[in-house]
Amino acid sequence: MHEPSKEWKKDDASSIKELLGLWLFLLYCLVYIGFITINVVSPKFMAIDVGSFNVAITYGLGLIVLAMVLAFAYNHVSTHAEELLNNNQGRDGETE
């Protein structure tokens, strides 16, 4: 059995990060599936005007922006969890 390139200290925040990651992933999946479903089931709905844009562009750009927002939120919570829970043993391999 081979080992990874570096040994990591035990990460007490991993279960929180794992759970949060899964929930955010499921949330994004739902929104993404909604996008595909509308495209296939009711493409005309995509052409409805939303201000200067239409549903297709608003939803598409919205998916991109949502990915960014979820990513920042995930990192924010994860970093705090690591700081809080791994405090006694130093942060999880951070060397920035």
Binding site: M1, H2, E3, P4, S5, K6, W8, D11, S14, S15, K17, E18, G21, L22, L24, F25, Y28, Y32, F35, I36, N39, V40, P43, K44, M46, A47, D49, G51, S52, F53, N54, A56, I57, G60, L61, L63, I64, V65, A67, M68, L70, A71, F72, Y74, N75, S78, T79, E82, R91, D92, G93, E94, T95, E96
Partner: protein, 646 residues
């Protein structure tokens, strides 16, 4: 169109290439160990790695392919941007940190973390090699597309040039130089794409785009038809003579006409009672290719793409636009798109591009490339094809070997996560820009119908040769960087996974690096050959296939190892093999491959969908579950799924 290279463009381009090679030379002196070669020593800062991720990911497919597809198919091209970015959600929330904890140099390391199975080492390495090669094809095609307008060289020369430079980069310094090249290129690509979008906004949209006064607008000709019955067309302009109606044109009728010695092909628009000018590429029996009846140098094959109507007016232009008004202007107008039809005429094959006025509302909605609307004739298989593509894009990112190996270049799992977030921000921003770049090209009279991959660079050219040269050089560096990353991934699979671990050659660090370099040379040469063979296909479409193969072969194994404690090594091996062979098999038997790779016209392919993911991904998951359950008593004990251990 005829491409005339500009000396200024050549100077800027060569400066870029020299800078890239100097970076490689600089890092080559520091790279002695296997860790340094394959994983940049694990010492790259997460912010640099994040932008380098963007550099890796924003390949020729993103910049050239997506922009080109939006330029000819509108919103459907933007679906690639949406899907490509969505894939990073899988990478961030599911794969990033565990991947970093489990692996050393390669994706195979991570899969094999708990099993130490020769079988996994072999099939995962083969999968890495095949996915890398599949991803390399569009990069090489993109490289060939770029050098033609930039340096006036043929397609194959571009492919060979990229291949050679990349082999030098990879064979000298491996992952460290690749990372810094990617960082530089990723950053520049985003900055200059943003600049280009601002220039598009500032110029506005015209019904007669003249490239800022540089190139006179080609006014499309039409001839009034006096009488048109089946097989007989009479026209008003007597300087033209009707030669014949071409056979096999389906619902659209094409008429061959002559004026003096010159023969041209026109589209009969029965509704308006006119013959409309077309663009034609004719391949003669002796191999000669004519563009609108002339040699390429005669420049008869003009650039196209304009709005025929803006706010109800047919001869107008807008003032400076912004992110909202630009879209609104297109939405409320009509765009002249160009459709394609191939017709065999005696021993000549004509590829005819004809005008297809399309309302802006349709341009900005799905359906021009992917059929999704039942009322417009979309069949169930068309819809499945669309779902399949979106599934492949979503699941493929987190399974691409050259993306996965970048997790080993940072010091810790937390840094892996942070670099993924930087990547999502940078890539997401760029993908928003692609919508404007593609639509900008669509209405600026810059599209070369023989090569829509060039739409974004040609859009830049319409603003002057300097920005064109810079954008093209960055696009070329884009290809260089991505190809370098892919070749590092492939060489790691050969030297580390196959030779060192599977064959148990127990090589020294020095020998492993040497083997990696040799593998890089061989993979590079194979990639060059494939890049020449696949000339002319949209690079983003090809990347869709690479994503499907990666998602089918690698992702089920990654996910199940992390989340299902009953996963066995036999299950992983079977899943990779089934995913790989089913995805490749379905692609090779698809209609798109029949038409564009085998060049079989009017032959129905046995597989009705073009993207295999919707079949091959579930098949790979099911195989893993069934085989794992069947081999439970033979597996080594894993008490918990790996996710909770890492």
């Amino acid at each position: 169109m005829n491409y005339i290279p500009s000396p200024w463009a050549i100077v800027i381009f060569i400066s870029f290439v020299v800078a890239v090679l100097l970076i490689s030379y600089h890092f080559a002196r520091k790279t002695k160990s296997a860790s340094g070669y394959f994983a940049a020593g694990g010492n790259i800062h997460w912010s640099v790695n994040g932008i380098a991720f963007a550099g890796d990911y924003l390949s020729a497919a993103s910049f050239l392919g997506i922009c080109g597809m939006i330029a000819v198919s509108g919103y459907d091209g933007f679906l690639y941007s949406i899907g490509y970015l969505a894939g990073w959600i899988v990478a961030l929330f599911i794969v990033a940190e565990p991947m970093k904890r489990m692996g050393k140099y390669t994706f195979t390391d991570a899969l094999d973390f708990k099993f130490n199975s020769k079988g996994i080492q072999l099939v995962a390495a083969i999968s890495t090699l095949l996915v890398s090669l599949f991803y390399l094809i569009p990069q090489m095609v993109g490289a060939g597309s770029l050098v033609t307008p930039l340096l006036g060289l043929p397609h194959w020369a571009g492919v060979v040039m990229v291949g050679t430079i990349v082999i030098i980069i990879v064979a000298t310094a491996g992952m460290t130089s690749t990372t810094y090249v990617q960082f530089l290129k990723g950053g520049l690509l985003i900055i200059f794409s943003m600049t280009l979008v601002f220039m598009v906004f500032s110029r506005g949209i015209s019904t007669t785009p003249d490239q800022g006064g540089d190139l006179e607008y080609h006014k499309l000709l039409s001839i009034n038809v006096v009488n048109s019955t089946e097989g007989a067309v009479e026209i008003e302009d007597k300087s033209y003579k009707v030669v014949e109606e071409l056979d096999g044109s389906g619902s659209v009728r094409f008429i061959k006409m002559s004026k003096g010695q010159e023969e041209t092909i026109w589209r009969l628009n029965e509704e308006q009672g006119v013959l409309e000018e077309t663009l034609v590429v004719s391949e003669l029996a002796d191999g000669t290719v004519l563009y609108n009846g002339g040699q390429k140098e005669e420049d008869k094959f003009f650039q196209i793409g304009h709005m025929s109507e803006i706010d109800g007016k047919t001869d107008t232009e807008t003032a400076t636009l912004n992110v909202f008004s630009f879209i609104e202007t297109i939405k409320n107008g009509t765009v002249i798109r160009w459709s394609t039809q191939v017709i065999a005429d005696n021993n000549t094959k004509h590829t005819i591009y004809y005008q297809n006025p399309t309302p802006g509302k349709e341009i900005l909605s799905p359906g021009l490339k992917f059929k999704v609307d039942s009322e417009k004739g979309a069949k169930t298989t068309d819809k499945l094809d669309f779902i399949s593509l979106m599934l492949a894009l979503f699941l493929g990112t987190a399974a691409l070997p050259h993306i996965l190996i970048r997790y080993y270049t940072v010091p810790s799992p937390a840094c892996a996560r942070k670099s993924t977030i930087v990547a999502i921000a940078a890539i997401g921003f760029f993908y928003c820009l692609t919508l404007y770049l593609g639509l900008g090209a669509m209405v600026s009279g810059v599209i070369d119908m023989t090569n829509n991959n060039m739409s974004a660079p040609l859009l830049a050219k319409s603003f002057g040769v300097t920005i064109f040269a810079v954008i093209s050089a960055i696009a070329f560096a884009t290809v260089l960087g991505t190809v370098s990353g892919l070749i590092v991934a492939a060489s790691g699979a050969v030297a580390h996974d196959l030779m060192d671990r599977f064959l148990g050659m127990n090589m020294t660090d020095k020998k492993k690096v040497f083997a990696g370099k040799m593998a890089a040379v061989v993979v590079g040469i194979i990639a060059m050959i494939l890049g020449i063979l696949f000339k002319g296909m949209n690079v983003s479409f090809l990347v869709g296939w690479a994503f499907a193969v990666a998602a089918s072969a690698n992702l089920p194994a990654i996910i199940m190892i992390l989340f299902w404690k009953k996963t066995t090594s036999q299950g992983v091996i079977s899943s990779i093999l089934v995913g790989l062979t089913s995805a490749l098999g379905l692609i090779l038997l698809s209609q798109e491959t029949f038409n564009n790779v085998y060049h079989l016209i009017n032959v129905t392919a046995p597989v009705p969908i073009n993207n295999p993911a919707i079949i091959s991904v579930p098949l790979s998951f099911i195989t893993l579950v069934v085989v794992s359950l069947y081999t439970q008593n033979r597996k080594k004990p894993i008490n918990e799924p790996i996710m909770s251990e890492v």
